[in-house]
């Protein structure tokens, strides 16, 4: 049987590669150092496969056919989608056998996921992976949740899906070690009024709940609650919640909180150590 040995949650702002130059407050450096720490811990946890819980930024799918939840499990992937970003393009291996298994299990458990066997990950996946596993040597499965085009799935449904993801991985018959990665920033406003604001108080409140494993208090938030306090971008906390639910009962460690103005997002890094793996 498989096990989940680690989980990481982190921001994925394009600013990470577009504006990496140091800021006066040293916040970018704080986030970069925390990502280095997460990379080292992840390596020490010796995962065999990754599942990334993420969202399409309207860069593969459009509103003619827009999935609320979608499992992307191609044989191979290449990214980032955005060729103008100043970062390398990477080749990734998918894990189609696991993807097919998970899809069948999910549908059997009444999680009616869409699926995609051809997918080009955008900055949201590739910026975190390039920092957390630059070797790009592990097979990657993407669980996509709609965080950008209302109406959005309820946080509670995302938590239920996460709980199921955890169960399905633990029931996968190969003796493999999985790591989960949740991507998305905390508060941020994208392409609307208030862009540039960061709600530090809300971010810190959320991080405390996440680190203490207080899932219910996040699951009961509405989309309107999140929009008001965390902006349209803050809807990405669904990805964090899903991973939190997959490892339910385990506290996380906050490796950094960095409200980076140049990146227009509240950035954090959290790590769940599930195997006692340490350097």
């Amino acid at each position: 049987m498989a096990e989940i040995v680690a989980a990481v949650a982190c921001a994925h702002a394009p600013g990470v590669v577009m504006r990496p130059e140091p800021d006066a407050a040293g916040l970018k450096e704080r986030w970069f150092r925390a990502m280095d720490e997460a990379r080292a811990r992840l390596a020490a946890a010796r995962p065999d496969a990754l599942v990334v819980v993420c969202n399409d930024h309207i860069q593969n799918f459009f509103f003619n056919n827009w999935p609320t939840f979608c499992l992307a499990y191609p044989e191979e992937m290449e990214g980032p989608f955005e060729r103008h970003l100043p970062m390398p393009r990477y080749q990734l291996r998918g894990y189609p056998e696991f993807g097919a298994y998970f899809l069948e299990q999910a549908l059997g458990a009444h999680f009616d996921l869409a699926s995609s066997q051809e997918y080009e990950p955008d900055h949201g996946v590739m910026i975190p992976l390039s920092r957390l596993r630059p070797e790009m040597d592990l097979p990657v499965t993407l669980l996509l949740q709609n965080c950008v085009q209302p109406p959005l799935p309820t946080p509670r449904r995302c938590a239920e899906l996460g709980r199921f993801l955890g169960q399905a991985i633990r029931a996968w018959p190969r003796p493999e070690r999985f790591a989960l990665i949740a991507v998305g920033a905390l508060s941020h406003w994208i392409g609307i009024k208030r862009m540039g604001e960061i709600n530090e108080a809300w971010d810190r409140w959320l991080l405390e709940l996440i680190c203490q494993g207080r899932l219910e208090e996040i699951a009961r938030l509405s989309s309107a609650d999140i929009e008001r306090e965390g902006g349209n971008g803050g809807q990405e906390i669904r990805n964090w919640l899903t991973v939190m639910a997959a490892v339910e009962g385990h506290p996380a460690e906050q490796l950094a909180y960095a409200p980076v103005r140049d990146w227009v997002v509240g950035c954090a890094v959290a790590y769940w150590d599930l195997a006692g793996a340490r350097r």
Binding site: I58, E82, H84, G191, I192, M195, D262
Partner: protein, 83 residues
């Protein structure tokens, strides 16, 4: 879904580099093909983020389009404040 056509054009500009090039060379012709109204076409062609936001353009598509057209975050923020 009033902004569907604008969103479709911005999405296709992301997806199809050859369309992006064509749009830079012949913006009106491309806007016509997407059945944009004159007001919608002007907003897209002139990268008028205030107008695009008022027209209901999807915020992420708006942001990525302005990045592709070389607009800084600071300028986008300024224009969105006016929306």
């Amino acid at each position: 879904m009033s902004a569907y056509r604008i969103n479709k054009l911005l999405f296709d500009l992301q997806m199809k580099p050859e369309l992006f090039d064509e749009f830079l060379a012949h913006p009106e012709a491309v806007a016509d093909r997407y059945h944009l109204t004159p007001e919608e076409a002007r907003a897209v062609i002139e990268v008028d983020a205030t107008a695009l936001s008022r027209l209901g353009t999807q915020p992420y598509l708006l942001r990525f389009y302005t990045v592709r057209r070389g607009m800084s975050n600071e300028e986008l923020i300024r224009q969105l404040e006016l929306a």
